[in-house]
């Protein structure tokens, strides 16, 4: 059993349960809401997410990190119930490491995708009960095909490959339209954007989402709060530092009066 390198199986044998259904009490506000996006740009994939966590009308936290690195080459951006999402990331992180260390080879990109779907399927009862719905976007670099890829999911675990971009969360309807417009009629398609311009687009998109969705946190310059933006290329995952985001935001996002 252990020889298969299946960490999730190992956890289950030890009595671990993931995605237990629990009926949501009426009137209970479960923290969720978000805007996350992933888009293919010139050198790979950019993944970004706002930092607000809300429960009903309440802003719970404004420094949430929803773009989580699972390993050096893959990222899971999460929308939905954070408790389930963080647990998913923990399981995935350990599963990929355990596989690599036992089998002495990296889990294939397809294998990683399967692991994400599998967890979402395990989570279906909790998702339907209303206490654990998670709708993530998975992005990573596929070394076999030498390409960065984006996948998005529904709450039942179905997996879809995004050709150009993917969005999720309560603010996503707003930016989905913008992404379509920019990609189709903008000066150049998203896939041709260099790193800096792709980052500017991500900041503009998240600011737009925050404009129309109260559950999405935009940029808060007074508190020096910027979205999380990560880039995935053949070299691995790289986080854009806040200082760079600040600079780009002030130069290309804020309209001078």
């Amino acid at each position: 059993m252990g020889m298969q390198g299946d960490f999730f199986q190992l956890l289950k044998e030890q009595g671990y349960q993931f995605g237990n259904p629990a009926a949501a009490a009426t009137g209970l506000d479960i923290p969720n809401a978000t805007t996350i996006l992933a888009l293919k740009y010139r050198d790979g994939v950019l993944v970004a997410g706002d930092r607000r966590a809300t429960a009903g009308n309440m802003v719970m936290y404004d420094r949430t990190d929803k773009v989580l690195e699972i390993d050096r080459h893959s990222v899971l951006a999460i929308a939905g119930v954070p408790a389930t999402a963080y647990e998913m990331v923990r399981v995935l992180e350990h599963s990929f490491k355990y596989y690599r260390r036992t089998q002495l080879q990296e889990l294939s990109f397809e294998g990683k995708l399967r692991a994400v779907s599998k967890l979402l399927k395990e989570n279906v009862p909790a998702a339907l009960a209303g206490t654990g719905a998670v709708v993530p976007v998975f992005a990573g670099y596929d070394h076999e095909q030498e390409a960065a890829k984006i996948y998005f999911y529904d709450i039942l675990g179905a997996e879809f490959e995004a050709v150009e971009y993917a969005v999720s969360g309560s603010g996503s309807p707003t930016i989905r339209g913008i992404l379509h417009y920019v990609n189709t009629w903008g000066p150049q398609p998203l896939a041709a954007l260099p790193e800096e311009q792709a980052t500017v687009q991500a900041l503009r998109l998240l600011s737009s989402a925050a404009e129309f969705d109260s559950a999405t946190g935009g940029v808060n310059r007074e508190l020096n709060l910027y979205p999380v933006v990560k880039l995935i290329t053949a070299a691995g995952v790289q986080t854009i530092p806040d200082t760079n985001l600040k600079q780009l935001y002030e130069r290309d996002v804020v309209r001078a009066l």
Binding site: G2, M3, R101
Partner: protein, 277 residues
Amino acid sequence: MYEEPYRWIEAVGNRRQYLDEQFAMGAPVVALAYADGIVMLTVSRGTPKLYEIYDRIALGGMGHPADLEKLRFSLLEMAHVEGFNRSPSDVTGARLMKYGLAPTIKQAFEEIYKAPFIAKILLAELGVKPERDLFLTINYDGNFEERRGWAALGATPAVQLEMGRYIDSQSGYAQASLAQAVEIGLCAWAVGSLAQTSSGTSDGESSSIRESAEKSEAEALPDTTALLAHVRQTVAEKSLECVVLERNGPGSSKYRALRADELGRLLPPAVRASDSH
């Protein structure tokens, strides 16, 4: 017949002798601290002997590949379940050794109706700060040791002491660059390898360890040129394996196996020369 205590002691003694013979031809393993972390190296004949156990823990082994594999899996399982249920910082080399490896190995060694593990294991743990780096070794009988700075696996404890004596003679090795650390490691490896071939299996019994350690105190260590020449000879037929735990490496996993081309650049010229022919 083992019910009598005397018989049992005799049987354990026989087992010791049998195991010492198994390790006589094994390749030593060296691990030492350097400026940016820990480097571990050995020379292997096909099957790898150095492995990643957890974010900051590496394993080096001597012995039968099947036994090493079994112990490696039990460590991996323990480390990952612990890291998941508690936190990665709670996975420590000392706990893996004391509660994971040692009881299993000791029990197998003393259950004389069953086969013992033909394995000696070295765990290197990278601390958050250099002074927290820890090295643990365990013998085939379940006896384990904790050290700072370096650790070695060799056919006998005397060989291991000799290898350590070489590393200790290189003052300031903990501040060495990776290339310097690789050279020191290779030389210590050669000290062990030469000591094993020259002494054969003579000093397997613990009584002679102190004696031989004292004796060797007086003897001068072989010079670097001779040691590197020995490495060059060995590497020509076998393959050099080298891994590092890098304190400032990216991400949470600090373990990295050096690829052949990178290792090629790090090797001292005296060893590298063998690549050309």
